[in-house]
Amino acid sequence: MVEARIDGKPAGIDAAVKRAAEILGAARFPVIAGLGTDVAGARASIALAERLRGAYDHLGSKRIFADLDVLRQAGQFLTTPNEARLHADVLLFVGRDLTRVWPKLLERLAPAEKPELALEPTARKIIWIDAGAVPAELNGLPLVTLDAPDLRSALALVRARVAGKPVAASGEETKKFDEIAKILNEAKFGAAIWGGETIDQLAIEMLYGLLADLNKTTRFSGFPVGAGDNSAGVVLTSGWMTGFPIRTGFGRGYPEHDPWRFDAIRLIESGETDAALWVSSYSQSTPQWEKDIPLVALVAPKTKFGREPQVVIEVGCPGVDHDGAEFARDTGSIIARAASNSSGAPLASAIIARIAEQIDGAV
């Protein structure tokens, strides 16, 4: 039985789709937000945004743009968890909540195992900058940690010592930076893993500079743990459909990308947007804006709203209720995730397509 509500009252799915189409079709400049959905859901959402001449954004935008802005302003060295696992003799972790963002990170990298494809496989050296509580998996391994209340300057200081430049720090601090710099410089193929709430754009750019410097003499690459809710998969889908990532709008009939202008929360709070479609099929996330605007929500079951949306339709979770294509951190690529517990819960992509059909019919 599909759960749907109109104005808080149980409704049939046909009626809910019809009402959703009325709300979105009547909007002057609607926004599609959340976008916690698989590739098919993202594809349907972006197509609907174009159809409606609206805009779209993802709930993980802040983390997405921390990485993406560095990539497109400076560049990046990237590798995959597989390569880190098989090749890396040095692992450089940056950020205290990496394993909270990606609980399987250490299982995936198997830091206690020697890198199988290294020329001379030896125990990996591990550096963790801003470690917080060190995960138990690393107990007993060669680990150097560095507390870093300010990640930007910590990375800048490490980078300076890697390049043999003087730093303004105490003798003891310098000794620590030198210890880390020596490990990094002696790496044969190192992998940096970064992400979480404590690393911002400037720190990531500094890390990129460090990687660029290291690659002058040795090999070092890395990857971000990124954001959840298939954010990377949605960005990639948006990339091939429009040329641009999320925070793109179609007000002029062609895609324009502007991370400030098409920030969903800003659009709504400023009154530029007059209706929203919220999609969250992976988690029970809800919109983070305050303003009361007409809202259609396609969400995971039992999602609790502070303010009841005009229309709620519960949708299945990709990879659980139905098969889906999504970005997998495990491989660093879009993969086919088979349903683990196939159910009849509707696909977000199918509901969005039905809404689009209703709107087309009305025109």
């Binding site: 560049g75 494809l117 690459s221 459909m241 429009t242 895609p255 098969d323």
Partner: protein, 541 residues
């Protein structure tokens, strides 16, 4: 629907036709003139030129590295014009790609570098390219599994089984090899990699990898010969590598991709000269070798290559100054934006090298028209290149804008050849269809797929090829007066070579042990692609 194309000049080298005649289409195929029947749709093509739809064998239109390039360079592709069809003006989108190819009369395009672990993304992207049919070549030759097979001296059939299983999972049409072993060696900090250099850890040379893959493709009877991107791409003096690679082919079928990028000598004050004439001569003498050109044009572009070693070395020339260097599971790749400039000595030599190859390689059946989009130039420059091929004056005019010392390092000034429309039709229609064993494409004979391009002859050759008068895809009129009228979605062409399924268990164990993941992750299930029946099989020979 019965369609009559009346009285156009049919240029159809496969059927040795160049004559004014009628062409009939029904149910997506070209048919014999049906006596006594009235067409449902008739087009008067007096004065027009009718060819089969063009086939591009080498254009980077989809996949992980292409999409990273889109995200790296938002400033390079701002849209400006309202869309008539969904996303049709979204620059560099999959949708715009299909629109522009169709407008030029291209109906089949091959994406030549899909990593097996990115096959699903590549096929999702290909599925969103409207109108044209497409296909993927799957990149092998830097993958641990293959290198380990070779290191351990495993049998020819084990290599063939692995290649076939990977192609089948990834839904590829053929095999691409990019700087064989070079990307793997780069992980061990190699900064150059030659044909006889050995990949550390494996003890296998680039030559051995190329020959093993060439053998596997032959054993599997895959129509497209191994598509090879050689070592030392883009480096002055690299013609010796290209010549040695042609030798290394030992008379077996080999396709050399974007030959222009390996046609450099190291003579002169700048240590860079054209060696295209010598290379063209070697190609002329090697009937087992096919090549595409990878013509350079003077434009802002972005180089997208799975030759991560080359891209890393080239990153210092990035313009704008940013790049992504990706150490992937096998090849990975590098995205380096680049500006080809008329006043650059090196770029001028590169431009001339490509044209020399076009002019000096004699057999249009073994020479394919490419820019290695977008590496030499975006595919949108094709019409301008047709003009250069067909007009000596156009070349002279273009040369007059280049540094004289650069032109002097080439033979282009002395070349008088001008392509005719038959040669263009061979190079862009008939020959690619033969290379790929697409028996019902690339020609206008009865039974052929009704992929047809109609052009209006014009003194401005580039205008003629930029905006086709009419284009039919599978008998459906999709372009009128250079504009796409509606979308339809084509197929991805694949091969399904037979192989011993025992390799599948072995691969499953390998993925489980090495990567801790199941190899099913890399499958490309049809039902996750947006259109029904997304694949069409091409027979192995």
């Amino acid at each position: 629907m019965l369609i009559l194309l009346k009285g156009g000049r049919l240029i159809d080298p496969v059927n040795q036709r160049d004559e004014i005649a009628d062409l009939w289409i029904e149910n997506g195929r070209i048919i014999s003139p049906p006596p006594g029947r009235i067409p449902d749709q008739a087009h008067d093509l007096a004065g027009k030129i009718v060819m089969a739809g063009a086939i591009d064998i080498h254009s980077h239109i989809a996949g992980g590295n292409v999409n990273t390039a889109r995200l790296l360079l938002p400033e390079m592709h701002r849209a400006m014009r309202e869309a008539e069809l969904p996303f049709s003006t979204a620059k560099w989108s999959t949708f715009e790609t299909g629109n522009i190819y169709a407008q030029m009369g291209f109906t089949t395009v091959i994406e030549p570098a899909v990593a097996p672990d990115h096959a699903l993304q590549a096929h999702l992207e290909l599925a969103d390219i409207p109108i044209i049919d497409k296909a993927a070549l799957i990149v092998l030759g830097n993958d641990d599994f293959l290198l380990s097979l070779l290191r351990d001296g495993e049998s020819r059939s084990a290599v063939a089984d692995y290649v076939a299983a990977t192609l089948t999972t990834a839904n590829g049409l053929g095999v691409k090899c990019i700087n064989a072993g070079g990307a793997a060696a780069f992980k061990y900090n190699a900064r150059t990699f030659e044909l006889d250099d050995v990949v550390p850890h494996y003890g296998v040379s680039s030559r051995q990898i190329v020959q093993a893959l060439q053998q596997a493709v032959e054993d599997l009877k895959i129509p497209h010969p191994l598509c090879l991107h050689t070592n030392n791409l883009g480096i002055p003096g690299n013609v010796t590598t290209a010549l040695a690679t042609i030798e290394a082919a030992r008379g077996k079928p080999l396709h050399l991709a974007h030959l222009q990028f390996y046609s450099y000598g190291d003579e002169g004050d700048h240590g860079m000269s054209s060696a295209a004439a010598a290379l063209a001569e070697a190609v002329n003498k090697a009937p087992n070798v096919t090549v595409d050109v990878g013509q350079v044009m003077f434009k802002q572009t972005v180089t997208i290559s799975s030759d991560v070693l080359r891209q890393f070395n080239g990153a210092s020339s990035a313009k704008p100054r940013k790049s992504v260097i990706f150490d992937g599971d096998a090849n990975g790749g590098g995205i380096v934006p680049y500006l080809y400039q008329e006043n650059s000595f090196i770029n001028a030599v590169q431009w001339a090298c490509g044209l020399e190859l076009f002019m000096l390689i004699e057999d249009p059946w073994r020479l394919f028209f490419t820019t290695d989009h977008p590496n030499g130039a975006p595919f949108t420059t094709y019409p301008d290149i047709f003009a250069l091929l067909m007009s000596r004056d156009a070349r002279a005019q273009a040369m007059s804008r280049l540094p004289e010392d650069a032109v002097a390092m080439t033979t282009l000034n002395s070349i008088t050849r001008e392509y005719d429309l038959n040669e263009i039709a061979i190079m862009t229609r008939a020959a690619p269809a033969r290379l790929l064993n697409l028996k019902d494409r690339g020609h206008l004979g009865v039974g052929a797929v009704a992929d047809v391009a109609v052009y209006s002859p014009d003194k401005d050759i580039s205008k003629m090829f930029r905006f086709a008068h009419l284009v039919f895809k599978d008998g459906d009129l999709v372009v009128r007066d250079g504009r796409v009228t509606h979308y339809r979605f084509g197929k991805a062409l694949t091969v399904r070579p037979g192989f011993d399924k025992a390799i599948e268990q072995r691969l499953a164990r390998y993925f489980d042990h090495h990567f801790g993941v199941t190899d099913n992750l890399f499958a490309v299930p049809s039902h996750l692609l947006p259109h029904d029946e997304p694949f069409q099989e091409v027979a192995c020979q």
